[in-house]
């Protein structure tokens, strides 16, 4: 898993890395010039004695000419960089063909991800994970339900804020398969640090297979324990905040759990997914993610085990 702007996997991040490289070289060149000049200035007269009579009547025509040259150099450098920046900006704004429409909503402190692609019956909702088909541009609509968040997957593209009352859009055209990490980049309260996104770029066929699985309602409980777990889910506070398609649970305060066990992280990237992690998270969310809006629900050992078994079956 990678979270770095230096290893781009999409057109947008690649362009930005190109711009970064240009900036870095131009700026490094400038810096070398400045430091060389400074070093020269220091070494040139370093054996001067203390308290020399100061020079008062001075004129520095040579230096002022050099200053002019330096200013021209700066202006040229800035023009190059501004132009490069402008062209990159334009390129980022160009939408791709046949974009995959995804709506991402930021909430304290997790991401709602809705694939709003094709006819509405094919729309899919998940949370804290994004899968993108390789090579197909994705158009991501960004909104927020509470405070300002910022959507950032450095390997794929720059960040864009999710602002309540506004809708922002950004494009991502993934070019390299792999697993990447995204993270909220605008301070949003207690758990700003644990608001991550699990991003996978995969071939279109794999993506479609995933989408087909996500489209299905939740698997019916396979055994009595899981059936009991489903009852627990519905009877306890779980159903007050979470939705599981195919059951009565349809609340949208928390992440949609229809296929929670198919995800690779829990609690917006706070933990890697495992049955044990799930049990720990349910038992005491405040210990793992202090301040999270998920409460610790009091359950008996049986209820807890059944609930975990049920949720773990939601592949």
């Amino acid at each position: 898993m990678s979270q770095s702007a230096l290893h781009p996997a999409a057109d947008q991040a690649t362009r930005l890395l190109g711009l970064w490289d240009l900036m870095l070289w131009v700026c490094a060149g400038m810096y070398v010039l400045v430091i060389a000049f400074l070093a020269w200035a220091i070494w040139r007269r370093r054996r001067a004695a203390y308290l020399i009579e100061p020079e008062v009547m001075v004129s520095d025509p040579g230096l002022e000419r050099a200053l002019g040259g330096w200013a021209v150099l700066i202006v040229v450098g800035l023009i190059v960089l501004t132009t490069a920046s402008f062209l990159t900006d334009r390129a980022l704004a160009t939408p791709g063909e046949r974009p995959l429409k995804i709506k991402v909503t930021g909430q304290q402190w997790w991401w709602r991800v809705e694939y709003q692609d094709g006819p509405v019956e094919r729309w899919v909702e998940t949370a804290n994970e994004i899968r993108l088909p390789l090579g197909r541009p994705a158009e991501i609509e960004l909104a927020s339900d509470d405070v300002i968040h910022s959507f950032w997957i450095p390997n794929l593209a720059g960040k864009t804020d999710l602002i309540p009352g506004r809708t922002n859009r950004m494009a991502i055209t993934p070019r390299r398969a792999g697993r990447f990490r995204g993270q909220c980049a605008e301070f949003c309260g207690f758990q700003h640090a644990h608001m991550a996104l699990d991003v996978t770029v995969e071939p279109e066929a794999a993506f479609e297979a995933w989408r087909a699985r996500q489209l299905a309602p939740a698997a019916a409980p396979a055994d009595p324990q899981r059936a009991y777990g489903q009852q627990v889910f519905q009877a306890k506070a779980c159903a007050m905040c979470h939705a599981i398609a195919g059951t009565q649970a349809g609340s949208r305060n928390g992440p949609d759990l229809t296929h929670v066990a198919s995800r690779r992280t829990l609690a917006a990237g706070a933990l890697p997914y495992s049955k044990g992690a799930l049990a720990g998270w349910i038992a005491n969310p405040q210990a793992l993610k202090p301040g999270t809006n998920m409460p610790a629900v009091r359950l008996s050992a049986d209820e807890q085990a059944a609930l975990v078994a049920y949720l773990d079956g939601l592949k």
């Binding site: 702007a5 711009l19 970064w20 700026c27 810096y31 400045v34 430091i35 000049f37 400074l38 200035a41 007269r45 370093r46 001067a48 308290l51 100061p54 020079e55 008062v56 001075v58 520095d60 230096l63 050099a66 200053l67 330096w70 200013a71 700066i74 202006v75 800035l78 960089l81 501004t82 920046s85 402008f86 990159t88 900006d89 980022l92 704004a93 509470d146 405070v147 300002i148 950032w152 450095p154 593209a157 720059g158 960040k159 804020d161 602002i163 309540p164 009352g165 506004r166 990490r181 909220c184 980049a185 605008e186 301070f187 949003c188 309260g189 207690f190 700003h192 640090a193 202090p290 301040g291």
Partner: protein, 634 residues
């Protein structure tokens, strides 16, 4: 090697004694509370700002401890959020701006040859307001009501729904306090510079530091109302349920950002431009020659002052504003590199053309250039709208602005402190300890903040109280933490240096560095009246001009506080004017304002009831002085 002219000794002594009596303060607490002496007030400012600098630094160390390792559990997220908020707010509002003003308050009247600052009572008032703001924040912090919304306090996180309680109100009112103080100081400085310069000190002969403060003060006057406005709107939303930032009712959360950064960006330059003045003064003295390209330097300062107001949107590139507009701000932000680059060139050229002596202040100047240029160049990078989308709100930006603000402002400040310390206290700081301090802080700084560039590029966002292992961030964070403690060691040495110096007798000469400015013409520390006679200036470097005597203009009264007002451009003497006497009213007015401000955190009625004592205090303050004919007191 005093360059003060030598009139008949007894006449001089008699005049000085009379002036000391006229301009002196009453002893004791009353004198402390009533003083309007710019030097005493500036000293208070300096001590207070450095205390809070230290405290905010301790918060930084705590944050670095938390981040030294992944999944750190030293601090709860709540505590961490308070820490970075109070750290940032203190550094910006309680340390950086006031400390620059403090130096200016002390030096500007001396540099322009004035007896006191213009509006000295306002100046006294400003300190108490500043102190009130600083204490509001820190007392709240110690009571665990510290704001936790970031130094920028973005809505809606800081709004009534997501910041219950009074934390955000305390932050907002702290800003009102400190900005009232800063505005008061700025008005005083602008007036002092434009109307109280010594005769003959035309604008063209004005020292670069005074130029820098003139630009800074003007910027302050234009920028700060914006943040006072926005925090007042926030308080109004929180207290009275207005809808300035309620997107549902026609408000706009991004409006907050616009207003905040319209102040916030110039704020950076308000901190940084005085530092340019320090660098120019130090370079000039230690390169033993006037700064190369004085005119260009002045033009660059003024250009920065103007451009600084045209770049605030580069803090908001990720908010999804129209692309074409962003391009404008990209260009403007990059354009500011030109005046900055010109200045850098001029300083290096001054060293190149002069015969530099590498005393500690000069080390800080070199450290400044080496560090600040990196910050400036990363500034060019984040100014690019598209590239900023990768860099914004990451540790890259943390690195960038610490390079600019520590490298660009704190390094020169330490240099300035070393340089002007004899003037402030009559004692010279130790060179040895000064060098230790420099190297520890300089190297510690690079170790702390250079890795942060890489952290940012590798995807680490800002303001996270912890981070997962396995993303390759661990070594950089550990290095940064080690660096931070190295800086702390340097800061300890600085404190030791100061304490040791203060324990020595005040024996510094008037002009220990053989510097050219007027402030070195008076004793160290200067007497209450500054100059026995108003100097007359005919050069940019008056003390280098005539090595034996300084021309003066006599004739000002000695038995009451009289000053001469000169014309703004040519500094031709105009009329004489009274300078206010010491008084308790600014203190009382500040007390009344404090009650009003603190009260308005809890009830909007504080504005109504608090206005009454304030009105009384202001009436006392502005009560006309009974004066006899000719302006002399009856």
């Amino acid at each position: 090697m005093s360059a003060v002219p030598m009139p008949p000794a007894d006449a001089e002594a008699r005049a000085a004694a009379k002036l000391a009596e006229t301009w002196g303060d009453r002893p004791g607490v009353w004198g402390w509370l009533t003083t309007v002496d710019h030097k005493r007030i500036a000293r208070r400012y300096l001590v207070t700002t450095f205390v809070f600098f230290g405290l905010a630094g301790i918060l930084a160390l705590l944050m670095r401890l938390q981040l030294a390792r992944p999944e750190g559990r030293l601090l709860s997220p709540d505590r961490y959020n308070e820490l970075f908020t109070v750290h940032g707010s203190t550094m910006m509002f309680i340390f950086a701006v006031p400390v620059m003003e403090a130096v200016a308050l002390y030096l500007v009247p001396l540099m322009v040859g004035a007896r006191n600052i213009a509006f000295p009572r306002l100046n006294a008032y400003s300190y108490y307001m500043y102190l009130g703001g600083a204490l509001t924040l820190w007392v709240a912090f110690f009571l665990n009501i510290g704001p936790d919304i970031g130094w920028f306090g973005y809505t809606p996180l800081s709004g009534p729904e997501y910041s219950p309680g009074k934390r955000a109100d305390i932050w907002a009112q702290m800003i009102t306090f400190t900005e009232v103080a800063a505005l008061a100081v700025s008005v005083s400085i602008v007036t002092t510079i434009l109307r109280m310069r010594a005769p003959g000190m035309t604008l063209a002969r004005m020292p670069l530091f005074v130029w820098a403060m003139l630009v800074t003060a003007f910027m302050t006057i234009f920028a700060l109302p914006s943040v006072m406005l926005v925090t007042s709107m926030l308080i109004s939303d929180r207290l009275m349920g207005t809808h300035f930032f309620n997107y549902a009712e026609g408000g706009d959360v991004v409006l907050f950002q616009h207003l905040f950064w319209f102040f916030g960006h110039p704020e950076v330059y308000i901190i940084f431009i005085p530092a340019l003045g320090f660098v120019s003064a130090i370079t000039e003295t230690f390169a033993r020659r006037p700064v190369v390209g004085h005119t260009f330097m002045v033009l660059a300062l003024v250009a920065i002052g103007f451009l600084a107001f045209g770049l605030w949107v580069h803090h908001m590139f990720a908010t999804g504003l129209p692309k074409l507009g962003n391009s404008f701000y990209t260009s403007a932000s990059m354009a500011i590199a030109l005046p900055s680059g010109v200045q850098i060139f001029c300083w290096i050229a001054t060293i190149w053309a002069g015969r530099p002596i590498f005393k500690t202040p000069m080390l800080w100047v070199i450290g400044f250039i080496v560090t600040f240029v990196i910050g400036g160049l990363t500034g060019v990078m984040v100014a690019s709208a598209p590239l900023d989308l990768q860099l914004h709100d990451t540790y890259f930006v943390v690195a960038h602005f610490h390079y600019v603000l520590i490298g660009g402002a704190v390094f020169p400040l330490f240099g300035a402190f070393q340089y002007w310390f004899p003037k402030f206290t009559g004692r010279v700081l130790s060179e040895t300890l000064g060098r230790w301090q420099f190297w520890l802080i300089f190297l510690g700084f690079q170790l702390t903040f250079f890795p942060m560039h890489l952290l940012g590029l590798n995807g680490m966002p800002r303001r996270v109280y912890t981070y997962p292992a396995g993303l390759g961030w661990e070594p950089y964070n550990l290095a940064a933490t080690i660096g931070a403690f190295t800086i702390a060691a340097g800061a300890v040495i600085f404190v030791v240096n100061v304490v040791l110096a203060l324990r020595r007798p005040a024996d510094a000469p008037a002009n220990p560095w053989d510097a050219p400015g007027l402030e070195w013409a008076v004793a160290s520390p200067p007497p209450a009246y500054n100059f026995v006679d108003t100097p007359a200036v005919s050069s940019r470097t008056p003390l280098w001009e005539d090595r034996t005597s300084l021309p003066v203009m006599g004739g000002l009264a000695t038995d009451y506080r009289e000053i001469v007002v000169t014309s703004p451009v040519e500094a031709e003497p105009g009329n004489r004017q009274d300078s206010p006497d010491p008084t308790i009213w600014p203190f009382l007015a500040a007390l009344a304002t404090t009650v009003l401000f603190i009260g308005s955190i809890f009830s909007e009625w504080a504005l109504v009831w608090g206005a009454i004592p304030l009105a009384i205090a202001l009436t006392g303050w502005f009560w006309p002085k009974r004066t006899g004919p000719g302006g002399a007191p009856e």
